[in-house]
């Protein structure tokens, strides 16, 4: 789903009855979860076909930092390990990508950081994965608050890529109930 909120940065050029995609920079906002895989593939393919600059961003949510302040003994080292883990994931992502990836790791509110980078780097398109399930919200169709904030505040169109069907990747063992005497 491509969401457009005019006026904003535009990556389509129409001239002499010819319409073209002119993407200079694409920003993939990822959390490396399975729900982000589809977005990563679509972003990579877009970049490959348009020769755009490929930016990838992971945001370490601000609540992790708050936890580290509240429980410095336990959360401080955890935050450090999370940073290392994310850096490792980003390195692997960049090395496996078929095109050059400019990686970014930010800390704060995810939507703020995504919008900030998109603004600062003059990004033409944000690509983001979605997997918020309506079943969690009383059946109301939702994208998730962070993605909606990104769409509302983004300086450019946002391509929301829904994941495939994600549920349990493995069978679940459920014990039979004990017969009542």
């Amino acid at each position: 789903v491509l969401t457009i909120r005019p006026p904003q940065r535009d990556f389509v050029e129409h001239r002499d009855s010819h319409t073209e995609i002119r993407l200079n920079r694409v920003l993939l906002a990822t959390n490396f979860r399975p729900s982000a895989n589809a977005a990563a593939q679509v972003a990579a393919e877009l970049v490959r076909r348009t020769n755009a600059e490929f930016h990838a961003l992971y945001v370490i949510s601000d609540y992790v930092g708050e936890m580290a302040q509240m429980f410095p003994e336990a959360s401080g080292p955890a935050l450090s390990r999370l940073r290392e883990h994310v850096e490792g994931k980003m390195s692997v992502f960049a090395s496996e990508a078929k095109s050059r990836v400019i990686t970014h790791i930010a800390e704060g509110r995810p939507y703020e950081q995504i919008v900030r980078l998109a603004t600062d780097a003059d990004v033409d398109l944000i690509v983001i994965g979605t997997n918020v399930h309506a079943s969690l919200f009383g059946g109301a169709p939702v994208l998730g608050p962070d993605i909606e904030r990104v769409v509302r505040n983004a300086p450019c169109p946002v391509l929301c890529v829904p994941t495939g069907k994600v549920l349990t990747p493995a069978p679940v063992l459920v014990a039979e109930p004990v017969p009542q005497m």
């Binding site: 009855s17 399930h133 309506a134 939702v142 769409v151 679940v172």
Partner: protein
């Protein structure tokens, strides 16, 4: 003793929506606001050699042959809105953005959200273009069911109360060769 519950759903690789997009749904209520998405739909269709489904959901019964109905049928007072609708569709189809593209106009009666969701499935849609003011949540505009599939929404008018007011509820009527008289709006 344990029983094994195997679910029908697994972590599926996401190749269904892969780029380039072949089938693009361009929902519109024919307002200038909704038209902002046209160039994106057209650009992606050109890029991928795809086609565009020009999709509009109306509250009244729309004959399937709206674009080819004789003018005299639409000159009845009750059918003036269909006449206006046909003009809007034709005007939109003449937009130069559509040049060289395969465009299928689909105008149906119903509620935008479920009808768009149905269209996504029936037309094997890869990309839906949405315009939003960004003033309200997108919950009504975009939805995904629990499997992650697009559920559709009140797209181009999602955040535009004036556009939403264009959709007036009328009793559902069967489609036929000649349009049924439109009921007064509620």
């Amino acid at each position: 003793v344990a029983s094994v519950l195997t679910f029908d759903f697994y972590l599926l690789p996401f190749y269904l929506f892969m780029y380039p997009f072949r089938n693009i749904l361009f929902p519109t209520d024919f307002t200038p606001h909704a038209r902002a998405a046209l160039k994106y739909a057209a650009a992606f269709a050109h890029e991928g050699g795809g086609r565009i489904v020009l999709f509009s959901v109306q509250s009244g019964s729309v004959p399937a042959n709206l674009l080819t109905l004789p003018e005299r049928v639409l000159e009845e007072p009750d059918q003036r809105w269909l006449q206006q609708l046909r003009v809007e569709v034709r005007n939109l189809l003449e937009d130069p953005m559509f040049d060289g593209l395969e465009v299928e106009p689909v105008i149906i009666e119903g509620e935008p959200a479920p009808e768009i969701a149905r269209a996504v499935r029936e037309f094997d849609i890869d990309l839906v273009t949405i315009v939003t003011h960004g003033r309200r949540g997108l919950a009504r505009a975009v939805g995904f069911d629990r499997g992650g599939d697009y559920r559709g929404g009140d797209v181009s008018c999602a955040d535009d109360p004036s556009a939403a007011a264009r959709f007036r509820r009328t009793p559902r009527q069967p489609h036929g060769d000649t349009p049924e008289p439109r009921s007064p709006c509620n």
